[in-house]
Assembly symmetry: D2
Homo-oligomer: 138 residues x 4
Amino acid sequence: MALVNPKTISIFENSIEIRVRYQETDGQRRLHHANYLNYFEMGRVELLRANGISYKDLEDSGVILVVTDLQIKYLRPGDYDDVLTLFTSITRSKGARIEHQYELKKSNEILASGNSTIASIDNSGKPIRLPNWLQRTV
Amino acid sequence: MALVNPKTISIFENSIEIRVRYQETDGQRRLHHANYLNYFEMGRVELLRANGISYKDLEDSGVILVVTDLQIKYLRPGDYDDVLTLFTSITRSKGARIEHQYELKKSNEILASGNSTIASIDNSGKPIRLPNWLQRTV
Amino acid sequence: MALVNPKTISIFENSIEIRVRYQETDGQRRLHHANYLNYFEMGRVELLRANGISYKDLEDSGVILVVTDLQIKYLRPGDYDDVLTLFTSITRSKGARIEHQYELKKSNEILASGNSTIASIDNSGKPIRLPNWLQRTV
Amino acid sequence: MALVNPKTISIFENSIEIRVRYQETDGQRRLHHANYLNYFEMGRVELLRANGISYKDLEDSGVILVVTDLQIKYLRPGDYDDVLTLFTSITRSKGARIEHQYELKKSNEILASGNSTIASIDNSGKPIRLPNWLQRTV
């Protein structure tokens, strides 16, 4: 199934708000560090959506994005019920790879910063070139 | 793909040990109540395995099991790093449904008890009869 | 620490929207059944907030709410990226217990319905009477 | 509360086996990438336990360990029900920081490799020196 009328991405950064759920905290009553990766994933998906693209449709069309590399620095803890702002940007999108940067903030404080590389594969797991409209040319 | 040499189930109850992970606790430093459902799922899978059946193979063969109904009573909290024992039993397995009972214990104390109904569906989501060898006849 | 100016609850039902996250799906590409309990918890917290009460502040004041009993029926699957609506209502709030009902919907379809009992305990785990303002008198 | 008879750590690497749970998979039917961090955490805890130390007791004694920095490379996917082997090693433990390396394998294949820095803090969140017996001197 091909994506209908995919738009070329033109928005390379945006932000979303995320409220820390009780289930996401741990015995320190703070956001467990593994959940930051789920937030980053939400950031990537919403950045695609801001460009008019549903990641679900992309996957249905046979383009699967998988994380291959991730770095994260945890600077300050996130607390239960905090409303955090996640800034996500695409720094590179070329060939079969997309690179993102992330900054998770609570008001003006940075809680965590990170970056990741995503590879595009097909249903059999083989790397495939990103669709042209998903390549960042500027 | 058909399951190769499926065995008829003959073991209807067993127990497994599960250590509470840090990530599974919440701000109360106790096992978060949603995780009990993951434990129950592990109990069902291991009870199948005790019968020589891999749930993964079962799914690959086109029989997908989904929870349709679940009741749980939480009696005492589970703490971080506790080693708990989960008792799982199949109380009924007939037609397109399997019924299980669960008891999660810490030494002699019961932390939670529950029961669930599982339906078998095909890849399109339609209910299908359980394979004969998965029906409980005694 | 006592809650500052707690308001008496007067709103007994509300709804929230929840988008299914990728991490919440399982190998069936559907919302894993344990995550419904996290959604219910979010429903309870937001219903308190609609009444002007932060569950976090409530816990800080020494009133901890724990689930003691939960029933859920799964009627239809939730898919990745679905925007679902969760209806939560307080059906009873008296003594040391609150009872809730839940309905999780996708447009007009009911995906799941459930109900639960919550007990209020203190930091040592002993049941304590709910604050007066949290008792439902109508 | 002080730790009773803490032993000096002398074991700097070990391995544990982890079976991939259904709930840990995502719509690609593979181990979701955020769960690798939970596995790494289990590796750290079990490496402490191999040295006769319970992380829970350590936390009760007022020494809380938090992740400040983490890098991970995902090389191959983990599938549902795989039994994986996680190798964890302490490469440095000095002052208020512990550094770990990780390798997650499926038979002889490396699924992921990573490393992290952990800081020790007290209950108020202030960095504190690691107990002497937790410092790696060789």
